[in-house]
Each structure stands twice: as structure tokens, then as C-alpha cells.
């Protein structure tokens, strides 16, 4: 207790030098929390969007389907059984039939994936009801990015060529009936959504689907004839991106922390060098060397406590503002040509765990760098120290 009291007294007595250290350390604090909060917020937002728009609580794939191998698409469909149809009718699952096609917007050739979806589905946020509202059998919905790359608008008709199950070519004009905005590139880029019944007719694949998407509340993972793919599998690519972003963020955070720690270390070395008489007095008054080392260590480590308080003064309002209003990037990752789910506005997420972890890291680091120079005290001779002689 004495050590803590003394430490804070000395620290505050040092004035500007202490506050400079504290401010630098508080920057490190705030930046570490800000960066990790941003990554966590992006992670939460992207996972949520991907689940809402594409994967629900998981997907059931036809065993031959491989999302990274377009050559598997033609063979990856199976008839929807009666049991599965019941689950579809209960809005627990929604079927998706996937086929490859070629679109000819303005005489250009563009490979696309046609996805047959149920217009009445309630599993995904896709505005599939728009398909049903049209009189045109070949009514289609596309995403904003797809509309941009194909230069298509609502009401436009465009020729599409595809093959039926036997490989025979067919072609017809499709009409774009609505354009949706979605931050998940795999839902938007290169995808055209049609009524699944229309696509089944077009490809002579009656009552067939490539995959079944499970509602977020549907937890069953076994359907005969279909392979369940959980969120871990479906979001594996995105998780790797987050991991690498956290890794690269760690370098920046380490540099910041090292700079702050260097300042504390330097202050400690200077203190021990300049306050030899004080150290000698402590020992003369009966304090053990270990206790004196403790006083100096606590004094150094207390920088981090003060930094946490100072950081909280300006950091907390900032974090509250950012988590409410988000950080607007002006352009989404998709607009910038990146194939990652990222919205125009990111809402950072600051968890209690993140704040506590950050505080522990900084306090432990500050304690270690404060202790290292303080060890010298234990080798000091009290008489020499009292005289203020350099040892």
C-alpha cells in the first residue's frame, strides 16, 4: 500500500514528464482498442450480412458441388424429396438451383451464374418477392455491382444463353425487375436470380436443386443425400482475411507499444540515476531493497493506469460515437474492386473482453519495463546512494 501511495505521489510530482509519458501511452491504448474494435466490427457485420444474404445457419450441398470448381455445377443437382419439400414449406430451408450461363449485355459476352430461388422464401434477405411481382416469366433480380458491370437498369432486357441438362443450348431475353444492394460480393458479382421453377423449366431439371440454405433458426445438420456445410466451412475464407488483418494490425500495435514502453523505460532509468539519495534514504529508513524496487516498479507501471484513465477520458466518447455512427469509407470494398464482404460504413465493435485484454497487455508490458531498470537498486550500497554517488 505504501509503495502504491509513494509511487503515485512521486509520479504526480514529476509533472510534465509523467503526463507526456501517460499521453503517449494513452494513444497506444486508444489505437489498439480502436483498431481491434474496427476489425471485430467488420467481422461481426460481414458474418451477419453473409448469413442473412447467403448462408443462413448453414447450407446443404449436393455431394458433387464444389463452389470453387465451376465444372462441378452441371452435375450438382438432385431432386428435392417430399420431406425436404415439407421443410421448405415451413420456411426452414430454401432451395437454390445453380447453373452457368452467358449474358450478352450490349453485345459483350459475360459469364454468369444463374441462381434459381424460391420467390416466397423467407430464409434469406434477397428480395426474391420482386420476381413474383413481375408478369414476365424470365423476370430476374441482380445486385448493384452486377448492374454496374453489365450496365443494366431496372426494366432492361438482355439476352442470356444457357444449356439444359443434356447440354443443348437455349437462349432467351431476361428482364431485370429489381436491383438490390448487398455487401456480400459472392451474392452480387456475376449472379442473376430467377424463379427456381423457371430455371428448372429452362434446364429441364424439374424439382431439382444444387443446395438448400437453412434458416438461421434451423439447427439440424443431417439431410439424407445432402452434405451439410457449417458456418466454419462457409466462412473459412473470410476468417482467414480477418486473421491476416489482425496479424498485420499486431505489427502496428507492437510498434506503438514499444515506443510507449521505451519512454517509460527511459523515465525509469533517469529516475533511478537521479534519485539515488532518495533510494539511499528509503533503505536507511528501514525499507528492504525489494520494497524499494517495488516502489519504483509500481511507479513505472502506474503510468499505464494513468494512461488508461486519460485514454478513457477521450477514448470512451470517441468509441461511443463511432460505434453509433460508424466509419464511412465512401465506397464499399466491392466498389473498390475487392472481393470481400465489407460495407460502405463500418460499425466498430468494442467488447468488454477487448478492453480488458488491452489494459492487461499494456499494464503487464509497463510493469516489465519498469522493473528491468529498477533491478539495479538491489545492487546499490546504501551509504554510497545516500551520498548520491553514481554506482
Amino acid at each position: 500500500m505504501l509503495a502504491i501511495k509513494l509511487a503515485f505521489k512521486n509520479l504526480l510530482g514529476a509533472g510534465l514528464r509523467t503526463w507526456l509519458n501517460v499521453i503517449v501511452l494513452s494513444f497506444a491504448f486508444v489505437l489498439i482498442i480502436f483498431y481491434n474494435g474496427m476489425i471485430d466490427g467488420w467481422n461481426r457485420q460481414a458474418r451477419n450480412d453473409t448469413q442473412n444474404w447467403e448462408i443462413g445457419s448453414g447450407q446443404f450441398w449436393h455431394p458433387a458441388y464444389d463452389r470453387f470448381d465451376p465444372y462441378t455445377i452441371a452435375e450438382s443437382n438432385a431432386v428435392i424429396s417430399k420431406d425436404i419439400q415439407d421443410l421448405i414449406d415451413d420456411d426452414k430451408l430454401t432451395p437454390v438451383l445453380i447453373r452457368q450461363a452467358t449474358l450478352y449485355p450490349q453485345g459483350r459476352l459475360q459469364s454468369v451464374l444463374i441462381k434459381g430461388v424460391d420467390p416466397n422464401q423467407k430464409v434469406l434477405e434477397l428480395p426474391t418477392a420482386d420476381i413474383q411481382n413481375s408478369q414476365n416469366k424470365y423476370a430476374a433480380i441482380i445486385g448493384k455491382q452486377m448492374a454496374k458491370s453489365t450496365k443494366l437498369n431496372v426494366g432492361d432486357k438482355v439476352l442470356m444463353r444457357w444449356r439444359d441438362k443434356n447440354g443443348t443450348f437455349d437462349a432467351h431475353e431476361i428482364e431485370i425487375v429489381s436491383i438490390f444492394k448487398c455487401d456480400v460480393p459472392t451474392v452480387d458479382n456475376g449472379n442473376i436470380y430467377l424463379d427456381i421453377k423457371t430455371l428448372q423449366d429452362m434446364t429441364t431439371l424439374q424439382d431439382q436443386a444444387t443446395m438448400l440454405v437453412a434458416h438461421r433458426e434451423y439447427e439440424n445438420t443431417k439431410l439424407e443425400g445432402w452434405e451439410h456445410k457449417n458456418l466454419g466451412f462457409l466462412l473459412a475464407e473470410f476468417d482467414k482475411i480477418i486473421e491476416s488483418k489482425k496479424g498485420s494490425g499486431l505489427i502496428l500495435q507492437s510498434i506503438l507499444l514499444i515506443l510507449a514502453m521505451l519512454a517509460i523505460f527511459d523515465t525509469q532509468v533517469l529516475s533511478i540515476f537521479r534519485r539515488q539519495k532518495e533510494i539511499g534514504t528509503y533503505i536507511a529508513l528501514g525499507l528492504t531493497r525489494a520494497k524499494v524496487v517495488g516502489i519504483f516498479t509500481v511507479e513505472g507501471a502506474a503510468h499505464s493506469i494513468l494512461a488508461a484513465i486519460v485514454g478513457a477520458i477521450y477514448g470512451v466518447p470517441l468509441f461511443i460515437y463511432l460505434s453509433k455512427n460508424g466509419i464511412y469509407y465512401g465506397t464499399s470494398a466491392q466498389d473498390a474492386g475487392m472481393n470481400i464482404p465489407m460495407a460502405e460504413t463500418l460499425y466498430p465493435y468494442y467488447s468488454v473482453g477487448l478492453v480488458i485484454t488491452s489494459i492487461i497487455i499494456v499494464v503487464v508490458a509497463a510493469t516489465i519495463v519498469s522493473y528491468l531498470p529498477a533491478r539495479k537498486i538491489s545492487k546499490m550500497k546504501p551509504t554510497q546512494a545516500l551520498k548520491g554517488k553514481i554506482q
Binding site: 465451376p70 455445377i73 459476352l109 439476352l159 444463353r161 447440354g167 443450348f169 437455349d170
Partner: protein
């Protein structure tokens, strides 16, 4: 004399008009197919064909030259000679199997299944177009729908509708020169009736008693551009082609 001439002319005309669409197709198949060609040494037809293929893109055109060795219609080996980027690329077709060797990667890839639907070297042809060597009479029901003249040649217009399900084009229209039994124009349609591709054949020459179109323009009608032009610069018959040419090992040589 005049009577005889009229009689010959009438009988010729009658014989032509009497030809059914299937008969015309059989004659076309006979002219194009290698199986019926009797050559000096054997019943098989060995050919070395040198050709150039010009692919007209949106911004520019590029021309590739190649040399093909073939025995009948089951074995063929093609080597690209130019431009430098494509030089050394080789294709081997044995029955219904196709391999491609790319010198830049030094790898041989087997093109199978749905990969056959890809474009050949960025042209308007697909591997599938090259591979399908079934006779038209086996997969289509033909009817004569019209008679037209193309560049001074009388042609019969045949409409072909698929009678098997595993066919890429549901229907075709073929303009056939009824004297030479060479198609001069062909249009390929989707199931909906949408015109997909058109090929125009010209520069018809008689080689070894058979008529060959030396120039083919193949165009994807849904896409902008002038399509792909193919010029046959030479055909050599009855050449000795070493058997190792038709092995996978020859691809890497």
C-alpha cells in the same frame, strides 16, 4: 441431238429434285468424312493440314497458324506455329479424348467433361465443336425448306432438327451446294429458335476428287465482332505420319 440434251437435262434435274434431305446429308458426309476415301496405300486417310485462324476481337485481331496431322477422324494432332505466345502449344485428340500441352507451363492437361465447352484459344470455336464427329444424319432429322443461290452457286436449304437429346444445337439450317455437296453456309439455333452461330464457307476447291472449303468464317451471333476466320493454306494427303505423333509423349517434344 437436241432431244437427247433435253432428256439428259430433265433426268439430271429430276434426280436432283428427287434427292431427299437425308440423301443430300449422306452425300455431304461422304464428301467431308474420311472413312470413304480410298487412298493408294490403305483405307485410312492421312492428312497434314496447314491453316491459319484469325480471331477478330473487339479491339484487335490476332492470327494463329497451325499444322494438323490426322488419320481418319479419330486421331489428330495439332501444333501451333505462331504467334510466339502460342508457339509450341499442342493438341492431341484420340477418339473422344483431348489433351492440350502448353509450353509456358510445361504441362499437359486433359480436356474433358464440361471443360470441352470452353473456347479454343479464345476463338468462337469450342473444343466441343471440334470434338463432335458424329454424322449429321445420326443426330438430326433433315427436311428441305428452300432453294437459294449463294455467290452464284445453287443451294438447297436444309432444316435439321435434333432427334437425340445430347446435342449442343437443337436445330440447324444448312445451305448445301447440291452439285459439290459442300455446305456453304450454316446457322445454329437454340431450343428457343434464337440464332446462336453462323458459319460461312467459301473458296471451295477440288482436292483428291473431293470438294473442300478453304475458308470458313465462324461467328457467335450474340456477340459483337467479326468472328473467327479459318484459312486452310495447304492439305497434303497420304503423307507418312509416324505413329508416335499420336501419343501423349509427342506433346512435350
Amino acid at each position: 441431238m437436241k432431244k437427247i440434251a433435253i432428256a439428259i437435262f430433265t433426268s439430271l434435274t429430276l434426280s436432283l429434285t428427287a434427292q431427299t434431305a437425308d440423301e443430300i446429308l449422306i452425300k455431304v458426309d461422304k464428301n467431308m468424312s474420311a472413312d470413304n476415301r480410298i487412298v493408294e496405300s490403305s483405307m485410312t486417310d492421312n492428312r497434314i493440314v496447314e491453316s491459319s485462324m484469325t480471331i477478330h476481337g473487339k479491339r484487335n485481331s490476332r492470327t494463329m497458324t497451325s499444322r494438323s496431322y490426322s488419320v481418319g477422324d479419330k486421331k489428330s494432332f495439332t501444333e501451333y506455329l505462331s504467334p510466339a505466345r502460342e508457339k509450341g502449344t499442342k493438341m492431341l485428340k484420340l477418339e473422344d479424348k483431348l489433351w492440350i500441352y502448353s509450353p509456358s507451363t510445361d504441362r499437359t492437361i486433359k480436356i474433358s467433361g464440361h471443360m470441352l465447352r470452353q473456347s479454343v484459344m479464345g476463338s468462337d470455336f469450342s473444343y466441343e465443336d471440334m470434338m463432335d464427329d458424329r454424322k449429321l444424319t445420326d443426330i438430326y432429322t433433315a427436311t428441305i425448306i428452300n432453294e437459294e443461290e449463294i455467290e452464284g452457286r445453287k443451294t438447297k436449304v436444309l432444316k435439321l432438327v435434333a432427334k437425340v437429346s445430347d446435342v449442343a444445337y437443337h436445330s440447324r439450317k444448312v445451305w448445301i451446294d447440291t452439285e459439290r455437296f459442300v455446305p456453304l453456309k450454316e446457322e445454329l439455333f437454340a431450343k428457343s429458335g434464337q440464332l446462336l452461330k453462323r458459319s460461312t464457307l467459301s473458296d471451295v476447291k477440288k482436292l483428291q476428287g473431293k470438294w473442300f472449303a478453304m475458308k470458313i468464317v465462324y461467328k457467335d451471333m450474340l456477340k459483337q465482332g467479326k468472328g473467327t476466320e479459318m484459312h486452310i493454306s495447304s492439305i497434303k494427303f497420304n503423307q507418312k505420319i509416324p505413329s508416335y505423333i499420336f501419343t501423349k509423349a509427342a506433346l512435350k517434344q
